[in-house]
Amino acid sequence: MYWTGFSCRKGCLVVDQTALTKKLQKEMNSGIASLVLLSVLGQAKEPMYGYQIAKLLDDNSESAPLMKQGALYPVLRSLESSGLLESRVEPSVSGPPRRYYTITAAGRETLEVWTEVWNQTKSFVENILKGTGNV
């Protein structure tokens, strides 16, 4: 099937593929970002601040990053207000003070559940995409 430039007769919609892909990416990211950030902080041995986390994510992604670094911060804030993370602000030698995040006990429990949810979702989607399910 050709998504772009297929001939459009009566009543069909012209599909704007890039916009749709962006939308899909955005919708997927909104859940994944929480899981990824929680997981990063779950593995961290020390409290981490935003730039450190963004850097770590960048180093780990092979292609272009999934989301802008700026989009990570509101997710960190929201995880904190849900009680999964906690943070404290510390002055830095150079530049503005940094907000250091650590995972809470509730955060660790949630991370375990979320990891399970992720594994289930992943294998489900992979099965469907491969067509190995009983269709």
Partner: protein, 296 residues
């Protein structure tokens, strides 16, 4: 594009206008922390890098002010429902809830809407009736059809405008741009959709109904408020101006003090009830406007 972090922050603040104050604070401090760190670290790796270039690279990775603002707005939207934020309902007593209506922006928004509805209602009604009549009478001419289409288009435009008013004053999310059609659609398809879409016709109905509704809202509100104000003013009139409260025939009767206090309290009660009524009507009207004006 941006010479300093401050320039970026100023733009970000502008993009966030209208968001929760706390969100704006968070977004600005996060961006400042990140960008300063990023610039410092980029220049540590390459000492001969110009500060401006380093900032540009950092912003490219961080996201434009618009993108960043959108990310915060998205998270805010998912976590906290708009107008109800900041008010802790559970911990308040009945009296607190009853009189708390004076601190509720939704009640004041609804009152403003009910006052405005008289004016907009008359305008919408006039526009809709004139447009319909001219469309019908012009239909015998060759330019009748374009005129009718133009009228329908104007109705959609007014519906969008009304949506903005409803969203601002009644707190119901309404579309921000015309929803009919899709990018790349032919103009003929658009026109066909304009005529076949039931919301074009519902919008005309809405505009016609808005005049009686607006008149009702306006008179209800003014009557009730004037009534409550006159009750509250009764003690002042009798005690300060020495005018009897009740006059039967040629005889004026002065009421005892306790009755005056009761009447004034009654006035406050009526005013508060009117606020509640306005909030309720605002809520109902918001749902109704959404049903009539928004294309699913």
């Amino acid at each position: 594009m941006y010479k300093t972090v401050e320039d970026y922050l100023a733009d970000l603040k502008q993009e966030l206008a209208g968001s929760d104050q706390a969100t704006i604070q968070d977004a600005l401090s996060d961006a400042e922390e990140h960008l300063r760190m990023a610039v410092a670290s980029l220049r540590e790796d390459k000492p001969d890098l110009a500060e401006e270039t380093a900032l540009q690279t950092a912003i490219d990775q961080y996201g434009s002010p618009a993108e960043t603002a959108a990310a915060y707005a998205e998270v805010e939207r998912r976590t906290a429902p708009g107008l109800s934020s900041g008010v802790n309902r559970k911990s308040r007593s009945f009296l607190g809830r009853f009189f708390g209506v004076y601190a509720d922006p939704r009640a004041w928004g609804a009152i403003l809407y009910m006052l405005i509805a008289l004016v907009t209602g008359i305008l919408y009604f006039t526009w809709a009736v004139t447009g319909l009549l001219f469309s019908v009478s012009f239909s015998i001419f060759i330019f009748g059809l374009p005129f009718a289409l133009l009228f329908l288009l104007s109705v959609r435009g007014l519906a969008l405008l009304e949506g903005r008013i409803v969203e601002a004053l009644l707190g119901v999310r309404m579309p921000r741009r015309p929803l009919f059609g899709h990018p790349g659609m032919k103009w003929f398809e658009r026109l066909k959709l304009l005529v076949t879409d039931k919301n074009s016709w519902l919008a005309i109905l809405y505009m016609l109904l808005q005049m009686p509704l607006g008149t009702l809202y306006f008179s209800l509100l003014t009557t009730l408020f004037v009534f409550s104000l006159s009750l509250i003013a009764t003690p002042v009139i009798q005690v300060v101006l020495k005018i009897p409260t009740v006059t039967i025939g040629y005889t004026g009767y002065f009421l005892p003090l306790w009755a005056l206090v009761l009447i004034a309290l009654g006035g406050i009660l009526v005013a508060t009830l009117t606020m509640h009524l306005a909030r309720g009507i605002g809520w109902l009207h918001g749902r109704y406007a959404k049903a009539m004006l928004v294309t699913e």
